[in-house]
């Protein structure tokens, strides 16, 4: 086999994986901290992508710049959704099940709203640099991929620092690991859940923008994204941010390599065969329970 091709697809896989990692981290956090499995996570990512698309198409705003507006906007929208829809169901007997049903409905609503606004045609983000490429010796990387990778890396680093260095971020981890003790030391679980949910949704938006720089997208793309999110979170361990990020990279690399060397129809077979194997042998993920 050609070494250049292997390395090229390896690096492409890492770039793709970093984007999945960014999308997966928020999915993992709401699951771990709030026991909310947010089926609409991918749909919010797609919403971020469409917002970037419109701002680019009609106002010529670069996706990196527009992310600075759309991501905080999604944060606020998510706070509202939390208050209106998510908070009531966290009192349910079975939060996991209730949250899946609720957010499944939310995903369908979002998908249809997006189909109405942006039509069902596939879209691509074509920023000014979309035809350019970074050439490093024998390797070749399209600029949008490089930007998507960089943005994802920045997003994950920001989440990591938030969780590790700020009081609110530490409270998020504390509430996940030992909710009762967190309450005893002054953590308001509702407040922390709202922050977690909003953070997850807004990073989903950022991840969606990054993914849109790599691939074309249409209103139902979030279904496929979601399946990949499950894969990333199950491999990385629920609630484990570093694990999720690493799992994103691993899965990106596996996908990248199988795309390069296997017939296209085999790619999903390989990745989801992997998911089955994980669910049977290491249902808690490849890493120890401890994480961030």
């Amino acid at each position: 086999m050609d070494a250049v091709l292997i390395i090229q697809s390896l690096i492409s896989g890492i770039m793709m994986g970093m984007v999945y990692a960014l999308l997966g981290v928020g999915f993992s956090l709401t699951w771990g901290v709030m026991h909310v499995i947010n089926i609409s996570h991918g749909a919010f990512g797609l919403l971020g992508a469409y917002m970037a698309y419109s701002l680019l198409q009609y106002f010529g705003v670069d996706p990196i710049v527009s992310a600075a507006v759309s991501v905080p906007l999604l944060f606020l929208v998510a706070c509202g959704i939390y208050q209106l829809l998510i908070r009531p169901i966290t009192r349910a007997q079975n939060v996991v099940m209730a949250s899946m049903i609720l957010t499944f409905g939310l995903a369908i609503i979002l998908e249809n709203v997006m189909a109405i606004i942006w039509k069902a045609d596939p879209r691509v983000l074509t920023p000014t640099y979309s035809s350019g490429a970074l050439i490093l010796g024998p390797f070749y990387f399209q600029y949008p991929h490089v930007v998507g990778f960089g943005l994802s890396l920045a997003g994950i680093t920001a989440i990591y620092l938030f969780l590790k260095k700020t009081y609110t971020g530490m409270a998020v981890r504390a509430a996940w690991q030992q909710p009762e003790a967190a309450r005893l030391y002054g953590v308001n679980l509702y407040w922390i859940s709202m922050i977690t949910f909003a953070l997850a949704v807004s990073t989903a938006g950022a991840g969606g923008i990054c993914l849109a720089l790599l691939n074309s997208f249409e209103p139902h793309s979030h279904n496929l994204w979601l399946i990949n999110l499950f894969l990333v979170v199950i491999v990385g361990g629920v609630g484990n941010v570093i694990g999720t990020a690493l799992a994103g990279l691993i899965i990106g690399v596996i996908t990248g390599l199988s795309m390069a060397f296997l017939p296209f129809l085999w790619v999903n077979l390989v990745t989801f065969g992997l998911l089955m194997i994980f669910l049977i042998f290491r249902p808690h993920g490849i890493f120890k329970q401890e994480g961030i």
Partner: protein, 234 residues
């Protein structure tokens, strides 16, 4: 300082506490003893706001705690060290302690308090970068105590601080608790270790099946024939 008047707590149909009253005044160390399942933890969880009360009233410095959530009660300076320690296992010792100073009133002094806790417990200072889940039971209890001290308690409630510890570690913890009270800390100590508890406290309450069975000074409780047979096995 703290006064619990005739409180009743229900878990579904079951009454876990029935019209229980208790007083703690400033600087005092009060014991709350009783067998497993007698309602000791329920009582301090009611004070902390973790379980709702069905009747009666809890007042703190003349004001009712009714309707306050645990985070608000924590802000008042009523701090609980929960049974089983309940540390944040995947956070480091230092992060666990810092979380103790989460509420805004004490957050600014966190670094100062951290140094103080480390000088009180040099053993956990050496382990500050380790995950709390990896420590021994005695060390974990020190972290739990340290985390509570970070919150600058005005009333410290300890739930079974010696549970699951070796006799040596338990004795060490009781020494620390006595030391804290000597320095002026108001303490409500919940324990099944009746002898050790009554030896360091001044006043005690005995719970039985959710009802207050006895209350008296600890010297007299130690002499009480009922306490002797039921709890001391004499």
């Amino acid at each position: 300082m703290l006064s619990v008047e005739n409180i009743t707590v229900c878990y579904g149909q079951m009454k876990a506490l029935r019209e229980v009253s208790l007083e703690v005044s400033t600087g005092q160390m009060v014991a709350l003893i009783g067998a497993n399942g007698s309602g000791k933890s329920t009582l301090i969880n009611a004070i902390s706001g973790l379980v709702p009360i069905a009747g009666g009233e809890i007042t703190w410095e003349g004001q009712t705690l009714k309707g306050l959530t645990p985070d608000n009660i924590c802000r008042e300076g009523i701090i609980q060290v929960p049974e089983g320690r309940k540390l944040f296992p995947a956070m480091t010792v230092e992060e666990n302690l810092i979380m103790g100073a989460y509420h805004p009133n004490v957050r600014k002094q966190a670094q100062e308090s951290l140094q103080k806790v480390f000088s009180t417990f040099p053993r956990i200072a050496d382990r500050r970068r380790q995950f709390a889940g990896s420590l021994s039971g005695g060390e974990q209890q020190m972290v739990a105590l340290g985390r509570a001290l970070m919150a600058k308690p005005r009333l410290l409630m300890l739930d079974e601080p010696s549970l699951g510890l070796s006799p040596k570690a338990a004795a060490e913890i009781f020494d620390i608790i006595r030391g804290l009270n000597k320095e002026g800390m108001t303490i409500l100590l919940v324990s099944q270790e009746v002898m050790q508890t009554l030896a360091i406290t001044t006043y005690g309450y005995v719970l039985e099946n959710g009802v207050l069975a006895l209350k008296d000074s600890c010297d007299r409780l130690l002499e009480d024939p009922k306490v002797k047979t039921s709890y001391l096995g004499l």
